[in-house]
Symmetry: C2
Subunit: 127 residues, 2 copies
């Protein structure tokens, strides 16, 4: 697919991917895609990332069910970041059971947790 | 500053920083910060990034005047990305003269430019 060739994958073959809730406009997650991840994301209509820690493709929600359905995909000017508008299934994007990963806010020189846990991760990831 | 020590800077000493317009909620830019950039951003209240191409600190808007005033700063769960709510001075974040860097949208397998140039870059960057 031609659009894949227009992404100047970094030295690790990756690009940063920002997922934004298409309804609330909240920024939910920042993750990484390689060529296969972007290809599969477009083909399936659901976000597939490259897990740098697990070193494998990671279909968002594969364990939790918290799939990200892609509404829109955008590329930035120097093509080193993707912006994905998503419908966040379950309303929980973070593995901590919160809506979004950005649940810590800088206040008076400290990172303060401001967002509630919506669901106990032990209940999300039971195998 | 203690909060700087909680950021696990990557192998290049950087963290990805997503700037979102605090008013429109549009994602404007993705750039990079090193320790000094984040420190100066917090101290000055305006976004300072690390330019990977120029290999130096880059106070956003230093040439264009399109400064990003910081409204809120957030850190994600695994601390590999920052989310910055900003007031985008001039309403233009992209060096192409557009509101945001994400002006290309994937449509039928092609990246299609959807956003208009608001101001000719030649008029923004005249030295």
């Amino acid at each position: 697919m031609n659009f894949l060739d227009e992404v100047p994958w970094d030295q690790h073959g990756l690009i940063a991917a920002v997922a934004q809730d298409a309804t609330t406009a909240r920024v939910l997650t920042v993750a990484w895609m390689n060529r296969d991840a972007l290809k599969q994301s477009v083909e399936t209509g659901e976000a597939v990332y490259w897990s740098r820690s697990r070193k494998r493709l990671w279909r968002k929600g594969e364990e939790s069910g918290h799939v990200q359905r892609i509404v829109e995909l955008r590329l930035d000017c120097d093509a080193d970041a993707l912006l994905i508008q998503v419908e966040q299934v379950g309303g929980i994007a973070c593995h901590t059971g919160r809506e979004r990963c950005f649940f810590r806010k800088l206040e008076d020189g400290r990172w303060v947790t401001t967002d509630p846990v919506l669901k106990d991760p032990a209940l999300i990831y039971r195998k």
